[in-house]
């Protein structure tokens, strides 16, 4: 969903994180759905035009609020999938069958509808190219969404940069999903990895794999992390996102392997790995 050439002039009207943009961040806004993209049978990306959007950082999220005609409201958080370089924000939502909000966003909402949201929110689980690397990203299921914003930002920032700059921020992604059909952004991840020798992407499928699968075929465990992660001595910036049990197990294991806890940032999505 990275659309190159789209002007980002209107997106960042002020420096994200500055006091003025902070006051703007907490107000609810009415966004318009301008596009809907099917990612997997259960997930779609909503592309939103948000008037007055103050800009955001990769890793941040928005709060979405739905209101029924009798005034009943439900609120959930969704990570922003699009990088700060894009004027429109993208949210990738996975449908939870017993969810209250996600089925509305995946089944009912359509282009032209409006959606109330506020943001961007969160200054902890964020990464800018200036933070440097090496970068180690671990995604469980829909936890890939904020990490994709990070990878898109990294790709956009390094576009045309010289070899030295690219090698200054090498990145690895370890992405766990149940099945190949559940993997978000398949084509884009393949292309990013192909175009950029400083990016490596490893998948693990935990339930079912296609014929001829050569990737990992199990839950993320200590051995896998030891194999895929940068050595602790390189002091990678680590971002782990997904269902709470996965995030906690991965973060604990990385610290046991010797990674500095201060460099391991986590975003737990709760028990089911997504906002219901």
């Amino acid at each position: 969903m990275v659309t190159r050439g789209v002007s980002s002039v209107t997106a960042a009207t002020r420096e994200p994180g500055s006091r003025a943009s902070r006051a703007a961040a907490i107000a609810w806004r009415l966004a318009t759905v301008v596009d809907v993209v099917t990612e997997t049978p259960r997930a779609r990306t909503l592309v939103l035009d948000v008037p007055g959007w103050p800009g955001h950082r990769a890793g941040q999220h928005v709060d979405v609020r739905l209101t029924a005609d009798d005034g009943y409201q439900a609120e959930r958080s969704y990570s922003i999938a699009s990088p700060p370089e894009e004027a429109r924000i993208a949210l990738t939502v996975q449908r939870l069958d017993d969810g209250e909000v996600s089925p509305y966003l995946t089944d009912v909402l359509r282009t032209g509808d409006r959606l109330e949201l506020r943001g961007p929110i969160g200054g902890y689980f964020v990464w800018d190219v200036a933070f440097g690397g090496p970068l180690f990203l671990v995604a469980g299921g829909s936890g890939i969404v904020p990490l994709m914003a990070i990878l898109r930002h990294r790709a956009g920032a390094l576009l045309g940069a010289n070899m030295r700059a690219r090698h200054g921020v090498p990145a690895r992604l370890l992405y766990s999903s149940r099945r190949w059909e559940d993997v978000f952004y398949r084509a884009e991840l393949a292309r990013l990895a192909e175009d950029d020798e400083t990016l490596e992407v490893a998948f693990t499928l935990t339930h079912e794999a296609p014929r001829g699968w050569t990737g990992f075929r199990r839950l993320i465990d200590r051995m896998m992390l030891a194999e895929v992660a940068w050595p602790p001595a390189e002091r990678p910036k680590v971002f782990v996102c997904g269902p709470t049990p996965l995030v906690e197990a991965v973060a604990t294991t990385l610290v046991e392997l010797g990674h500095d806890p201060a460099l391991v940032k986590t975003e737990r999505f709760g028990p089911t790995g997504g906002s219901a």
Partner: protein
């Protein structure tokens, strides 16, 4: 059906208070409505059993304010503490020898879900108070329930006596799971469910009322769902 809904859920209506930023909508006479959104509510034949503002749920939401305590049964005890003087204490084994009752009741959470026909098994607080009195524990007008992990909630004595309260050890026929307050929780179904303290370990008598964890933080001191006493200041 529509009429019932708009009466029951009128309290949820909000206005947007917004700064005059570009793109931010101001306080509107007609609040934004999400096209086609209904939410999880299920009105119907059970409406009469639901207190105002509640909806029925078929599952059993877990609300946690902290990590799940895991006190081993070998070290678990339950204490009824008098204002001064002796306290009554039961180990898990001793607690099991007390007469247990089965209770079928509706429960109502202040976060608006209600669950009907929930089945519990436990020891009536009346039984515990009688046992404690026999051991010289002096009652007082108020009670503070104290749980593992530090949670507290306060109740008048009259709301835990007369067959209104239990220390429950089973839910739906099985030992109470930790996420729902096991091994034992207070059960006071006529009040909002935050009063049914999970992981309860003590009932402490008090001469004067003292607000517990939520009562001291914006929630109603008493919490009658039928008068919709959710927040402090509600009549």
């Amino acid at each position: 059906m529509t009429v019932v809904l708009s009466v029951v859920f009128a309290t949820a209506r909000t206005l947007n208070v917004a700064a005059s930023e570009g793109g931010v909508h101001k306080a509107m006479t007609e609040p934004f409505v999400s096209r086609g959104f209904r939410g999880r509510r299920q009105p119907g034949e059970t409406a009469a059993r639901l207190p105002p503002g509640q909806y029925e749920t078929r599952d059993f939401p877990v609300l946690s304010a902290g990590p799940t305590p895991r006190t081993p049964l070998a070290t678990w005890d339950f204490v009824l503490r008098g204002v001064d003087g002796p306290a009554a204490r039961w180990t898990w084994d001793e607690f099991q020898t007390l007469p247990h009752e089965t209770v079928n009741t509706d429960i109502h959470c202040v976060t608006k879900w209600s669950k009907l026909n929930t089945i519990w098994e436990g020891v009536s607080v009346d039984t515990l108070l009688a046992e404690a009195a026999a051991r010289g524990v002096k009652a007082a007008p108020y009670v503070l329930a104290v749980s593992d992990g530090g949670y507290t909630t306060n109740l008048p004595l009259g709301d835990v006596t007369g067959g209104k309260a239990w220390v429950a050890v089973k839910y739906a026929g099985a030992p109470l799971p930790p996420e729902h307050g096991g091994p034992a929780r207070l059960l006071v179904p006529h009040l909002y469910f935050w009063k049914s303290a999970k992981w309860v370990r003590q009932l402490r008598f008090m001469e004067h009322d003292a607000a517990g964890f939520w009562e001291s933080f914006g929630y109603h001191n008493y919490g009658d769902p039928w008068r919709e006493q959710r927040y402090s200041g509600d009549p």
